[in-house]
């Protein structure tokens, strides 16, 4: 059972999000509580998953039974376990706040709102777990699309902010995909573990360097690194209060940088074949950031 936990953690919010329009069509008032129950279940599962990782080591989950070079792999290591636990805890707090306080989360926008929030949470857990660059891209897009729609929920001024966010964010993901394309063309691998082995020998290659630069710029736009952060203030201040902690906790911020770091970690001479994630100082710092950001945002929202 415990080896299926990564898939289950992802499937719970996804399945609930899928059922949400139907449930909302039948009975609108159930949506909020149902979303809350789903996220709470996800939190319980993610804590169980973290427990199994701590006691039994990392879990590698291959979808469809196909193993990595061919299949899609999800990697639940200790970083991912901590991130998922933090993420689902944050989602519980956000949904509790949303159902209790209301605002944009009630009325006729309730059904799309909760669907999008659950999709966002599912996408975030996908980004955290994905073991190869391309699936990180796919889940990045899932998260981004939900985030654009979520920022636009209040209407009015938020629409323009959401459009600016969409413009910059889509450019960012396009650059990221381009970087992935360069990497694949140069190394023939997408799995992060495979890349960590192959990239060190290819560092002289211009294609690999170009891929690294494109991926860095793309992710820098997504995490709003200093000169590329133009979209962030408007999007976060005009978006719905109850959901912005989730946007802020955007674990792509951490996971992307960690995925990036694990491929670029091999750049550092002393650290060959050893992804940066596995170094002990890396974990608490990265995983505490979304939590701290989310909590402070909750505090400022109330």
């Amino acid at each position: 059972m415990s080896e299926h936990l990564p898939a289950l953690v992802f499937l719970v919010p996804l399945t609930t999000a899928i059922c949400m329009p139907l449930v909302g069509h039948l009975r609108k008032s159930v949506c909020g509580p149902l979303a809350f129950v789903a996220v709470a279940l996800m939190a319980v599962l993610s804590v169980a998953s973290l427990w199994s990782i701590v006691s039994g080591g990392e879990v590698r989950y291959s979808f469809g039974g196909w193993v990595p070079p061919i299949g899609i792999e999800w990697l639940a290591d200790s970083l991912a376990g901590v991130m998922i636990a933090a993420l689902s805890g944050l989602a519980v707090v956000c949904l509790l706040y949303g159902t209790a306080v209301g605002g944009d989360t009630h009325g006729k926008r309730a059904v799309p709102y909760y669907t999008i929030v659950l999709l966002l949470v599912a996408g975030l857990s996908g980004v955290v777990y994905a073991g190869d660059l391309f699936n990180i891209f796919v889940f990045l897009e899932v998260v981004s699309l939900s985030a654009y729609a979520l920022v636009a929920v209040p209407g009015g001024r938020a629409l323009v902010s959401a459009f600016r966010y969409l413009l910059m964010g889509t450019l960012g993901t396009a650059f990221y995909l381009l970087g992935v394309g360069y990497f694949y063309a140069a190394t023939g691998a997408l799995n992060i573990a495979d890349l960590a082995q192959r990239v060190p020998d290819l560092l002289g290659s211009k294609a690999v360097m170009a891929g690294l630069i494109f991926m860095f710029v793309g992710l820098a736009i997504k995490i709003a690194l200093m000169p590329l952060h133009g979209w962030l203030p408007d999007a976060y201040s005009h978006g719905p209060t109850a959901a912005v902690p989730l946007l802020l906790a955007w674990s792509p911020r951490s996971r992307c940088s960690s995925g990036f770091a694990s491929s670029s970690g091999s750049l550092a001479p002393g650290r060959r074949n050893r992804p940066l994630e596995s170094s002990p100082w890396y974990r608490p710092w990265e995983s505490s950031r979304p939590l701290a950001g989310g909590v402070s945002r909750c505090a400022s929202g109330t």
């Binding site: 891209f137 323009v160 959401a162 459009f163 450019l171 995909l177 394309g181 694949y184």
Partner: protein, 125 residues
């Protein structure tokens, strides 16, 4: 410098990719009309997809399905299916982005009565 351009001319597909990418970036950032910005964005995404396709292409190769009684299997005779799968997924993602962004733009138009960035900013005050 000259050998650089010479090398570029032997790969016209990559030149086309660069031109499409830069053109799209220019449209997305320089135009003031929101729909034109979207067109530029679409061009950028299309150029990336074009890059994936053009790196995955192989002359004289066929579908990666081994037919019964086929002669000894050589990797040269078959196309690598992975770039095409990536392309398909990227195309779907692109369509989804386009749908969301067009929906957003139509909401903006209904709210502000204009698609021009400057006029919208004027109305926001």
């Amino acid at each position: 410098m000259s050998e650089f351009f010479g090398a570029a001319l032997t790969r016209p597909n990559l030149v086309a990719f660069v031109v499409l990418l830069l053109w799209g970036l220019y449209i997305a950032l320089a135009h003031h009309n929101l729909v034109k910005k979207l067109i530029g964005l679409y061009l950028v995404q299309t150029s990336v997809i074009f890059f994936l396709v053009t790196t995955g292409a192989k002359n004289g190769a066929t579908v990666p399905v081994i037919l019964e009684g086929a002669a000894p299997v050589t990797a040269d005779a078959y196309v690598n299916p992975l770039p095409q799968v990536l392309t398909l997924t990227a195309v779907v993602v692109q369509i989804a982005t386009l749908g969301v962004s067009l929906g957003l733009v139509s909401r903006i138009y209904r709210r502000f009565g204009s698609l021009d960035e400057d006029r919208i900013l004027d109305k926001l005050g």
